[in-house]
Subunit: 272 residues, 2 copies
Amino acid sequence: MRVTMSDVAAAAGVNKATVSRVLRGDPRISSSTSEKVWSTIKKLGYRPDAIARGLSSRSSDTVGLFFRDLAVPWAGEFMAGFERVTSRQGCECLFRSTGSDRQQIRNAMFRLISRRVDGLVWIDCLPEPDSEVPGLAVGLEYAAGISVVVDHDHAISSLMALADGRAVEIQQGEKPLFPGIVTLLPRQRAGKSGTVRVFDGVSPPCCEPLPDDAIVVCTTRKSPVPAKGIWKLYWPAFELGTLSARVLLNTIKGRGVRPDTVRLLPVLSGPA
Amino acid sequence: MRVTMSDVAAAAGVNKATVSRVLRGDPRISSSTSEKVWSTIKKLGYRPDAIARGLSSRSSDTVGLFFRDLAVPWAGEFMAGFERVTSRQGCECLFRSTGSDRQQIRNAMFRLISRRVDGLVWIDCLPEPDSEVPGLAVGLEYAAGISVVVDHDHAISSLMALADGRAVEIQQGEKPLFPGIVTLLPRQRAGKSGTVRVFDGVSPPCCEPLPDDAIVVCTTRKSPVPAKGIWKLYWPAFELGTLSARVLLNTIKGRGVRPDTVRLLPVLSGPA
DNA sequence: TTGTACGCGTTATCAT
DNA sequence: ATGATAACGCGTACAA
């Protein structure tokens, strides 16, 4: 049988409520009682039960992550960042891969809500309006609420600066890191010879750029390192995770977060 | 206020216990009562509370995933596979990135146990012995329990078959998919000219192989597609996820699973 | 077939 | 500063 709070209370000769207060660090507990309780806690190897706590406190220190598609290469890195922040706050994370079917998404959402999640993160999909808990959109802008996104404009600026008059060509695969970024490319003539070739979601065909050319691959920090001599446009997956976690936790705690969009800057970095 | 089981019972004019039985599909409930209860459930929009259920049933329909390093490119794909199976069974998944520090790992473990997880998956790290719940090792073999791994021997066989007398060279990056596979390579002379060059965790330097050569990249299904003309050795991340989930759920349900190692075969597939 | 009553482990609200 | 006790929402023997 597991050691419960009652066991501790009995062994320490105090009331359950007192134990609870000691655990929560209630200031109006005498240091003698506190020590007594703590020592019995350690002696008995007591560990609080998060489920029971959730039942009576009506919240669970748990958040849910909804991915439209979990099977993207940056998912792990994002979650790593997210988890780093939440775990320090004693908060656990559930995840779901939802796909695009609205009904399935809602089913998944209700399941998590029945788990009393304190908040939901919607990654590359739009928050359902009636989620009953604080929500945060990641990747897609969401005018009706809070969202964290990567700044595509800044990516374009960096590329144009690198091009410095040369032509810029962007090639994207099925699952690009910067979806739709091509439409942001200015429609101007190249003033210099040479081309900046950008590969997003596809491997570059060759790694030795021609003399005037520059090759840029879009990648996350932890992806397998591409060969030398090429530029990297980092899509900040990890940072997106840590930032999302901070924003969500603040929202949950009710720290003044109003509907807004937070933008993260992708970093263009030179060849090794 | 949320709709609870008592509300449904009161509205339907029956006892809480009856509602509970209807929900669990207890056969000894009259169909008339059952219909009555179901209709009130829908009318009131009642949704069962998983936390409360967990408290009284002493289990939570939740499992935990421990990654030594969550920030690997295949993490999402693995989780997608895992989640596909668990979600169909009404089971939710928590995740943690633990790193290699033993104490931190144990802390995280105790946190999840206090959440009453029904089982734990240890991805690329060894299960702690006193986890109190069923465990499953993924990636690393774990003699003392159940593990699911990718068959490195089979990978080598496939490569040797492809080489067919040519030399085989394997280059690995910091985070290879097949760690340690180089040591499995047979130490025999090449009988033919040409080389099979294998890249695991690093991008191939060039994508147009020499006439006699063959280029192989180790990858998962959903990674950005490498250029044409090269072979792929698939590391079955998604399948590893689905299989792990099945094995773990069976273990939890106590379906005869004895200490054993399940091996998944990587697939070597020709150039597009 | 259905109702009663207690237990699950904690938090919170009264008292004292 | 601490104790007693009632929620919290559900599962489940046991009774009817």
